[in-house]
Structures are given as C-alpha cells and as structure tokens.
Symmetry: C2
Subunit: 256 residues, 2 copies
C-alpha cells in the first residue's frame, strides 16, 4: 500500500507546488516509485514537470467524476520513477459537479484505491483553499504536509489549517496524521524570518520539520524549464535541501 502525502495550506503562494513537485521527484530519484497528483485547477504541478495542461489524454478531473480508473502518465525525460495524474482546466468544474454527489468527499480516495499497488508514495498538490478539492485530498491521504512561508500572514493562517485537519479526522478519515510543517522561502538575513521561525518552534515543537528550505532563485526558475530542481540544477542549495527534506519525510513515514 502506498504512503499518500497531501501537501496543503489554504494560504496562497507558500510553496505547496514547489514542495509537492520536488518531494515527488526526490522520492523517485531515491528509488521509490512515486505518483504526483495535481488537484489544483491552476495545474502548476502539471506544467512544472513539463506537461501541457491543455493537451492531456486523461486528468484528475476524469478520475474524480467518471467511473474509470485513474490514468497516470509516466513523466518522460530524466525524472526517475515518477508518474503524474495531471490537472486540466476543467478541474475547476469538478468542484460544482462533486457538490451534487453522494459521499462527495471520498471521490479521490475511491479513485486512488483503484490503482494497482505499484506506487510506494503518492504526493498530492492542493489549491490554496479549503474547498471540496482540498477536502478530497485530505480524506484520501495518510499524511498531510503543510508548507509555511516564513512570513507573518502565512503564520496567521496555520491555526485554521490545524482546525480543518481535526475536522477531517473526526468526520471522514480518522487515520489522517500531520506529517509536519516545512518552512519555505526562508531568508535568514531578515528579522521577520527569524521571528516567524522562533514562533513556529514555540507553537509546534513536535511538528516543525528540521529541514529549512531557503529562498533561492534557482527554485523559482526550474518550473519555466518544466523540470524539478533535482534535474534542473542538481548542485543547487534548493536541490540539496529538498533531498534532505525527502529523507526526513521518509524517516517520519517509516517510524509509524
């Protein structure tokens, strides 16, 4: 059975896609067969691994609203052991369509259950909201990973995210566990970043992951080349930090 990790935070622009894509790619490069699922109608994860969201054979939308098993596409080129269930623009329509269905919160969980047992890990990228697409992702997951930018506004929203996770655990998926909080776009030269980090350590001592992801322009360039950082610039800080983060995450998942 694969470990299913949902990368979520309703705060926008905190590094959800960057973390989901680079975690999935690093898991693949370490020899774990990994599926990346793009649940965001923006389809940023899809284009960050080089696929065109407007030109897909099958997508997450199909997996959610039809009875066919999900059809993942192997990510070509250098990426090892990586497959993608891509997002297309009609995924935004799935929100409305799912609202009228029975057990609408379980659509993704049901769909992923139909995948043969070929993956070791499944990583889900979520939109910046607590909508039905995010609820589906949390219900389908074993773990939730929360990226947090080292900024004041991102810190504020964290308690709401925690409330949401508790609600999901009570009503839909008791086994959902918090994998951890990862600090992203960290710029150690600013007081603000240091203060936010101190606050995160104080408020979530057990759950703040040790690996920090620094702000680095190479990370924001990589998506324009359709490649995870590991394959865009293997010697960059971003690449090393996402490999470290991935090893830390494997360790947390294995401990349970």
């Amino acid at each position: 059975m694969p470990q299913i990790i949902c990368v979520s935070n309703q705060k926008g622009g905190v590094g959800k896609t960057t973390t989901a894509v680079n975690l999935a790619a690093a898991l693949g490069s370490l020899g774990h067969f990994t599926l990346l699922v793009d649940m965001d109608p923006q389809a940023n994860a899809t284009s960050a691994v080089g696929l065109d969201p407007n030109n897909l054979e099958a997508s997450t939308y199909d997996a959610l609203v039809t009875d066919e098993p999900p059809r993942a596409q192997v990510v070509d080129g250098e990426c090892k052991n990586l497959a993608l269930l891509p997002a297309s623009i009609d995924l935004a329509g799935a929100e409305i369509e799912l609202l009228e269905r029975e057990e609408r919160e379980y659509a993704l969980k049901r769909s992923l259950a139909r995948l043969e047992d070929i993956y070791d890990y499944i990583v889900i990228d979520c939109p910046p909201s607590l909508s039905i697409l995010t609820i589906n992702s949390l219900v389908a997951a074993d773990w939730v990973l929360i990226p947090v930018q080292a900024e004041y506004l991102a810190l504020e929203g964290l308690s709401r995210m925690m409330l949401m996770i508790q609600k999901i655990q009570k009503r839909y998926q008791a086994d959902l566990k918090l994998l951890g909080i990862v600090t992203t776009m960290f710029d150690g030269r600013t007081n603000l970043a240091q203060q936010v980090l101190e606050e995160l350590k104080r408020a979530f001592p057990e759950k703040l992951l040790h690996t920090l992801i620094s702000r680095s322009v190479r990370l924001s360039e990589a998506p324009s080349f359709g490649k995870p950082i590991l394959y865009y610039d293997p010697r960059s800080t971003g690449s090393e930090q996402y490999l470290d983060l991935t090893r830390e995450i494997i360790h947390v998942c294995d401990e349970e």
Copy 2:
C-alpha cells in the same frame, strides 16, 4: 457613486492583500474617503489594518447572507479616511450558503448598493480562487486590478484570469473594466524577474501599469503591526511605490 476596484488573481501569494490594503490606505491619505472590503475567509486584510477577525460586530458574511445593510467599521488610529468591511471565519460558509440562492452572483453588488453615497472608492480584497466569493467581487466592481508576482508560475495563470473577466463581462457585468496589471515583489537583480517583466510588457502592453512594486521586507513586516506601509514606515520604498501606484490608478479611473 464610488469607484469600485476589485483586487483579484487566482494565483496564490502574489500580493493581492498587500496591494488592496496599501491602495486603500493611500487613497485615504490622499483625501478620498475609502472602504476596504475583505472578501477572503483568511481575513488577512482585516488583520493587516489591525482588527481581530475573531472579534467583530459585523462582517462581510452578514452583508452577503442577511438583508441588513453592510456595517463598515472606521479603521482607528492613524489611518485617514479609511473604513473596513471585515472578514470573519464564517465567510467560508457563505460560499456554500450562496450556492443555493437565487442570483447568487449579485449578493455583494446588492449589498454595496445599500451603502449611502459616502465613499469615493471601494477596494475589494479577493481570495486566491475563482470561487463564488471572487465572482461576487468581480460582479460588484467597476474595475479589476490584477497583481502579478514577477515569477514564472504567476505568469502562467494570467490568461485564465483574463478568460474569467471576459466571462463575467458577458454574463453578469458588461461594465467591468480591466484597470491594469501591477508587477509585485519585483527583484531586479534576478534574470527571471527581468524576463517575466519583458513578457508582461510584450503580452499586455496597454494594461501593464508603470509603477513596479519591489520586493521589500518592510512591506511584509507591516501586517504584523496591523498597519499599512504608509503608517508603518512612511519613508520606505514600499510606501513611496504604493503612493505612486495609487496616483497612477486614480489617473486611470478619472480618464474614463
């Protein structure tokens, strides 16, 4: 009649809240009586001007789902000519409640029409989505202002935003006009930012506003003090740039 400006982009973390708050504050400081409307359940604009989203007498939620006129609160302290219609956490519930109503897209427009003619400008901060709350904001507005981070992923989503505006103009509000695109968090030292700026100039020559907002830590510190940049650090680059942007916006609104 007030000029109603909706600040929107479904891409997360591009500076919507920072732009809405500082535009509204700058309009107030230039002598225009301004109402800031927080339509994002994250309530970032509400806390960025020093109010507590968990401790409100009235909110945007009430304005949308009850028949009472909206009750704005004057923003205390140094902010001149600024009032706020704050967001509370139950605004997320309004999404579901509005879906079952007749003419659900017009709830905010109807509500704002009940305000006496006391404001010169109304500025609306939107969530990072194309949900019913964002549609309400676009339908209620005369102008839409789109902040775009000088990053690749933010550029990708712009065409979808334009499609959404066209849809709103056709189906709900023919008078909605694109005020312009404002480049935010610009760091001129990186090639990526220069390339994205070139691309924006090429793709939207008529609509890209001249004023650039640079990346500056003072801007991201200000919300933690509950103050717009104008009152947190009046001599900062951020403060000057948002004043310049505001004058440019007043000029565009007046031209029509």
